[in-house]
C-alpha cells in the first residue's frame, strides 16, 4: 500500500512558461510565453533548458528564496532526463531527477511532499518541462518531416512549470497521494498512448479510493493528465465496467490546452500538460475545492516500441485542496 495523507504541505507559488502554440489555444493567461520554439537559443535543447531555468529563476526571485531552497526535484522527456540535469547544474540546490514520462511532475511532487511532511526538509521546488520539437525528434520522426499521424496520436505540449512546496499555510494544500503501480495491458502502439495509460489511471484511482476509504464523489473534480480524447473515453468505460465507478466531474488536461482547429489529434500530452492546465486554468477559477490529480505516463522508449514490446504505463495520484 502506498497511499498517504499529508498534514502540512502547501503550494507556495507556481510559475509557467508556455510555448507559442499553447498561448494561441484555450488558455490565455500564462506567466510567460515564448515567442518561438528556440527561445533566443541556438538549439532546441538549449531552449528547453532555458525554459526550466527561467521558471526556477522566477520562483526564487518572486518569493525571495534564493539560497533558501532545500531540494530540487525534476524530470522531463529527454533521454537520461538530460534537460533537467543540465538545468539543475545552474542552481546550487540538492537535486533529485525523476522519470515516469508524463507523470514525472506528480511523482516529483509526491516525493517532495513526503520529505516536507516528515520534516526532513523545509521546502522544495518541483519542476518539469516538455518541448514539442525535442519530443518529436526523440520519439517520432524528424521535425520537418511532418509525418502523417494516426487519429489517436497526442501532441506534446511545449512549456515548463515549477512549484515551490512549503510547510507554511497557503491557499493550495497537498492533501494526500497514492503511488501507482506500473501496469501492462499488452498495448504496444506508441501512437495510441491514451489506450496504454487508461488502465493505469483507472487502477490508481481505485487504489486511492479504497486505501483512503473514500467515495468517488468526495472529489469535486478528477483531473487526468494526458489521456487525450480517445483515452478519456476508454478510461471512463474501464472504471465503469470494472469498478462500477462514475465520475461526476472529470476533465482531461489533454483536451484543455489546444483548440480543435490547431489539429492536435487526440489532444495534448507531455509532463507539462497537467500542471499547465492545473495552475493556469483550473486553480484560477476557484470553482473546485477538492481536486484529484491523476498523472499518467507511458513508459516506452523508441527502441522498445520498435521491438514491439508491450508498453508499461503508470499513474500517480495526488489530492489537492483549495483552502477557503
Amino acid at each position: 500500500m502506498a497511499s498517504f495523507k499529508f498534514n502540512n504541505v502547501y503550494i507556495k507559488d507556481s510559475f509557467t512558461v508556455a510555448g507559442p502554440m499553447e498561448a494561441e489555444g484555450q488558455i490565455h493567461k500564462f506567466d510567460l510565453v515564448m515567442d518561438d520554439y528556440y527561445y533566443q537559443e541556438k538549439t532546441l535543447l538549449d531552449a528547453e533548458i532555458k525554459m526550466q531555468r527561467v521558471v526556477i529563476d522566477n520562483l526564487l526571485y518572486k518569493n525571495k528564496m534564493k539560497g533558501k531552497i532545500d531540494l530540487l526535484i525534476g524530470g522531463d522527456l529527454s533521454n537520461q532526463i538530460s534537460i533537467t540535469n543540465h538545468n539543475a547544474v545552474n542552481f546550487d540546490i540538492p537535486f533529485l531527477g525523476v522519470y515516469s514520462a508524463c507523470a514525472s511532475f506528480v511523482e516529483g511532487a509526491i516525493i517532495a511532499a513526503n520529505f516536507i511532511d516528515t520534516k526532513r526538509i523545509n521546502n522544495a521546488i518541483v519542476i518539469t518541462s516538455s518541448h514539442n520539437l525535442n519530443a518529436e525528434k526523440q520519439f517520432r520522426f524528424p521535425i520537418e518531416y511532418g509525418a502523417p499521424r494516426a487519429l489517436t496520436t497526442t501532441f506534446t505540449a511545449t512549456g515548463s512549470v515549477g512549484i515551490i512546496l512549503d510547510r507554511e499555510v497557503s491557499k493550495f494544500k497537498l492533501e494526500s497521494a497514492t503511488v501507482g503501480k506500473p501496469v501492462d495491458y499488452n498495448m504496444a502502439d506508441a501512437t495510441h498512448m491514451g489506450a496504454v495509460m487508461a488502465p493505469a489511471a483507472a487502477i490508481a484511482l481505485k487504489e486511492h479510493l479504497t486505501e483512503l476509504n473514500r467515495d468517488i464523489n468526495y472529489y469535486d473534480l478528477i483531473l487526468t493528465g494526458d489521456l487525450g480524447e480517445i483515452g478519456s473515453k476508454i478510461f471512463k468505460e474501464f472504471i465503469k465496467k470494472n469498478y462500477d465507478l462514475k465520475m461526476k466531474n472529470h476533465i482531461d488536461a489533454g483536451g484543455e490546452i489546444f483548440l480543435s482547429s490547431q489539429e492536435v489529434y487526440s489532444g495534448s500530452s507531455g509532463p507539462v500538460t497537467l500542471p499547465l492546465v492545473l495552475f493556469n486554468k483550473i486553480l484560477r477559477t476557484s470553482k473546485y475545492k477538492k481536486i484529484l490529480l491523476i498523472a499518467t505516463g507511458s513508459l516506452h522508449s523508441k527502441d522498445t516500441t520498435n521491438q514491439k514490446k508491450a508498453i508499461p504505463s503508470i499513474a500517480h495520484v495526488l489530492s489537492l485542496e483549495v483552502m477557503a
Binding site: 520522426f141 521535425i143 520537418e144 511532418g146 502523417p148 487519429l151 498495448m187 495510441h192 488502465p199
Partner: protein, 145 residues
Amino acid sequence: MNKDEYKKLVDKLTPKENKKKNAFWAFMIGGLMGAIAEGLVTLILKCFAVSEVEAYQIVCLIIIFIGCLFTALGFFDNWVSKAKAGLIIPTTGFAHSVASATLDYKKDGLITGVGANYFKLAGSVIIYGIISAFIFAIIGVIIHG
C-alpha cells in the same frame, strides 16, 4: 478485465482512419505531381536540345531540389501531413526525408549528426529498392532472356 477484453474495448472506442478518402487524395496529389513532371519534361524537350532520357533526369533533379528547398523553407512538412502518401511516395518524399533528417541533426556534428542520420528514413528506401531491383532484374532476365 483481462488483456483480450481490454483490447476489444480499445478497438471499439478507437476511431477508424478513412482509408478510401486517404487513398483518393494520395492518388489525386501523386497524380498531379506526375502531371507536373510530365509537363516539365515536355517543356525541356521543346526548349533544349536534350534526349528524352536526359530530360527525365533533369526533371527528377528539379523535383528533388524543390522538395529539399521547400523542406528547408519550413512549409513542406505541412503539405506532407495533409497530402500524406501523395507527396511521400514520389521523389519529393525521398528528398524531403533526407533534408528533414539533416535539419534535425545539424547541431549534432557533421559525422555523428548529419552523416550518421542523413539516411535515417531514406535508408530503408535505398536498401529495399536495391534488393527489389536485383530480384526483378533476375526475373526480367529469366522471362525475356
